[in-house]
């Protein structure tokens, strides 16, 4: 399949593409088998009474999530979002317009939960839930990366991510789950991380890294695992342990901890920052996966929790961990569950903290110094990862998630260039592989979804000679490594912010 996949042509002027109905109707990921489904407590196969169960589950979700309820009612079909999705721009399939994607679910909501839909379905675009509609849900709710770009532009803030999550949750509940995401969630529970790297192998990898860094720098930089009483617990995406270019950022974090004399540890129990529970919209899975971090923190007795470069993981950590697990501050004094952990954590620091916040704090305090020339071979631009940009924050002010990574890059390198502002910060385009779509059975979609980012990257390459795109997301790194060559770029152009930190940081033998 991948042999036939080619990159779509760049738009000469970035005009809104004409519609190509049905362009992506055959793009769907592999369906999860019964073993994968049942491990998460979902039915193994599409159940006999899927229709009734789906409607019942939709009703439950409407009662549990204000977002879904309001978003189902409030849309006026104004079209503000219609040209904002990278998958629509790349595929031209009208069902990839955010409003049309929402309407796949909204049409059924109207039919079963509203008066006009019950009595005049045609008039208000209401539809019965048929097998065709269910298949359409599976197809198109697996063409949304939950990046929230549409929600920036919606006059009511309708967030298609919330709708996609609800739809995927309904599909899982009737036994129609997606293989890639659900298999990964199974691995987190069984082994401790998304990539299925068991504890002993992790230890081996970390020891190997210590040797590599020693060889490269002559300095004993440690990569500690399961150290009780460490100050900092680092939670990072498991791709950081061996994927390229992710591993270079892990080395960067270790060097920052080394240079600042911070005692830190990784955890074999919680060797994964990623949380695919969010992608499938299942609160129980989201919570269960996050609970591993709470347990590791309690067991190791750490004072601080820091999160590595991973977009959706940072959204979950920043926005949801306090709710899910109590990792944070400001719980009620009689909230025993949260207080158990919050009493242990050191609240002079943000809990949890992003590794970029940590590094930037250290730079501001003068605790780190750099040979910026070490990055002179790079002309760098920064790709804002969607979940960091639109679902989280860093620092003390709104928008810190944009400034802090850029500040770090400028502190460790001399050549920094911005991409056009309509594609960065809160208007950033998804890499095309987020939200549980980073699987080869969706490669065609991933390549097309990368189009808007590749277009503007080409622009800064042509105008400024950019040869390095930094980001802070494991999925962005993996996605770009795969699709950039298809657009004619060198795969090594993508890398982490802490990879640049690692290149330039001055170390001494502590």
């Amino acid at each position: 399949m991948s042999a036939t996949i080619t990159a779509p042509a760049y738009r000469i002027i970035p005009i809104i593409p004409a519609l190509k109905p049905g362009a992506m109707e055959d793009s769907k990921p592999f369906v999860a088998n019964d073993k994968i489904q049942e491990a998460l407590g979902f039915p193994g196969q599409l159940v006999e009474d899927w229709h009734d169960r789906a409607i019942a589950r939709m009703g439950e979700l409407l009662g549990k999530y204000r977002s879904l309820k309001v978003y189902m009612d409030a849309c006026v079909h104004c079209g503000a979002c219609s040209d904002k999705c990278h998958y629509f721009i790349g595929t031209q399939d009208p069902k990839n317009m955010p409003v049309a994607r929402q309407d796949l679910l909204r049409s059924v909501y109207r039919r079963y939960f509203t008066l006009p839909g019950k009595f005049f379905p045609k008039l208000v675009g209401a539809r019965d839930l048929t097998r065709e509609v269910l298949d359409e849900w599976y197809t198109y709710f697996n063409q949304c990366s939950e990046c929230r770009r549409c929600s920036v532009f919606c006059p009511y803030g309708i967030d298609t991510a919330e709708v996609t999550m609800a739809a995927r949750e309904i599909l899982d509940c009737v036994g129609y789950g997606q293989k890639y995401s659900n298999e990964i969630i199974g691995k987190v529970h069984r082994i401790g991380n998304n990539l299925g790297l068991p504890g002993p192998a992790l230890l081996d990898t970390l020891e190997g890294l210590e040797e590599d860094v020693k060889e490269g720098t002559g300095i004993d930089v440690r990569f500690p695992l399961d150290v009780k009483g460490a100050e900092v617990l680092l939670i990072t995406p498991s791709a950081d342990f061996f994927a390229e270019p992710h591993i270079d950022s892990l080395i960067g974090y270790a060097k920052v901890f080394h240079a600042t004399g911070t005692s830190w540890t990784l955890s074999s129990m919680a060797s994964e920052a990623g949380n695919f529970g969010m992608f499938i919209g299942n609160y129980e899975q989201l919570r269960k996966i996050a609970m591993r971090i709470r347990e590791a923190a309690l067991e190791l007795g750490v004072k601080r929790i820091i999160v590595g470069e991973c977009g959706h993981a940072w959204r979950v950590a920043y926005s949801f961990w306090n709710t899910l697990t109590g990792v944070g501050d400001g719980a009620d004094a009689n909230d025993r569950f949260a207080m158990m952990l919050q009493k242990q954590l050191d609240h002079r620091y943000k809990q949890p903290m992003h590794i970029c916040e940590f590094t930037w704090d250290m730079i501001e305090q003068g605790a780190l110094s750099f040979d910026k020339e070490a990055n002179d071979k790079h002309i760098i631009t920064f790709h804002d990862s969607c979940n960091v940009a639109r679902g989280s924050r860093m620092g003390n002010f709104a928008g810190g998630q944009f400034e802090i990574p850029r500040n770090i890059i400028k502190a460790v390198a001399n050549n920094f260039v911005e991409m056009p502002s309509s594609t960065t910060r809160e208007q950033t385009f998804c890499c095309g592989g987020g939200g549980g779509l980073l699987t080869d059975d969706l490669l065609d979609l991933r390549v097309k979804g990368a189009l808007p980012r590749m277009e503007v990257l080409q622009q800064v390459v042509d105008e400024h000679g950019v040869n390095f795109m930094a980001c802070i997301c494991a999925i962005c790194k993996a996605q770009f490594t795969k699709v950039m060559p298809i657009y004619g770029f060198d795969r090594r152009m993508i890398g982490g912010v802490h990879q640049l930190v690692s290149n330039a940081i001055r170390l001494d033998n502590k």
Partner: protein
């Protein structure tokens, strides 16, 4: 006879409008928002949220970022509608409040602007391929409904006058349960009937965007999840079931 029918219709429409919208607000406010999902960058405190919501409701900030044509036409329509509604207050108070008297001429222009805005939005819906694709019959009808209401109102102002004193008498009569006859005027019948229809469909249609926007979690939440634990009632139950007897000792 016609007056009686209209009296009944308007009472019914107003009642269903008020009850329906209150019911919706009740449902929205009672449905929990279990997770912090403001679209960031978002205000970090409540004061900031009030400002964000004000900008959103008064100036359609997000729509402005999205598409200038839709924003311009949409804002023109909504702002004009607001002025037109305020102008209509003169039918509901005796004596007419001085500021309502003051805005009367502007209200007339607003009526024309409202019609233009609606027409522009309909042209967009009819001729922009993407917008036509996502439109349901009700989307078109809603615009037609509003346009006929506006046009019938303007018609009575400029072409076929009705006895506005008598109309006011009729409306005050409805308000104080001292019923008065409604002037026989076709344009007026159309105008009032369609306004009643609008009130009736408001709580069961996309017009719910008006109360809905205030309950949108991506807009009305402050961005402070690390500083304050946000937990809904149903999620809280999961915490409690997690705490075993051994944990209680640790928690002290």
């Amino acid at each position: 006879m016609v007056g009686t029918l209209f009296a009944i219709l308007l009472y019914l429409a107003t009642l269903l409008f008020v009850v329906g919208v209150l019911y919706r607000i009740r449902v929205y406010s009672r449905t929990p928002a279990p997770l912090k999902i403001p679209t960031t960058p978002a205000p970090i405190n409540t004061g900031g949220v009030v400002l964000r919501m004000t900008r959103e409701v008064l100036f359609f900030e997000s729509l402005f970022k999205a598409n200038l044509w839709t924003w311009g036409l949409g804002w023109l329509f909504h702002a004009s509608l607001a002025l037109v509604l305020l102008r209509h207050l003169r039918y509901f108070t005796e004596p007419v409040w001085s500021w309502v008297a003051l805005i009367q001429p502007f209200g007339v222009y607003a009526g024309i602007a409202m019609l233009l805005g609606l027409a522009g939005l309909w042209v967009r819906r009819l001729f922009v391929e993407r917008i036509r694709y996502i439109s349901t019959p009700s989307d078109h009808l809603m615009l037609v409904l509003l346009m006929v209401i506006a046009a019938s109102g303007l018609l009575m102002k400029f072409l076929a006058h009705t006895d506005v004193i008598a109309v006011k008498g009729f409306i005050l009569g409805l308000m104080y349960f001292n019923w008065q006859p409604l002037p026989a005027h076709f344009g007026l019948y159309v105008h009032l009937f369609l306004v009643a229809v609008l009130l009736l469909i408001f709580p069961i249609s996309k017009l719910l965007h008006a109360p809905g926007v205030f309950f949108s979690p991506s807009r009305n939440q402050a961005d402070n999840p690390r500083e304050k634990r946000h937990i809904s009632a149903w999620a809280k139950q999961l915490d409690t079931s997690q705490l075993g007897p051994n944990d209680m000792g640790n928690a002290k």
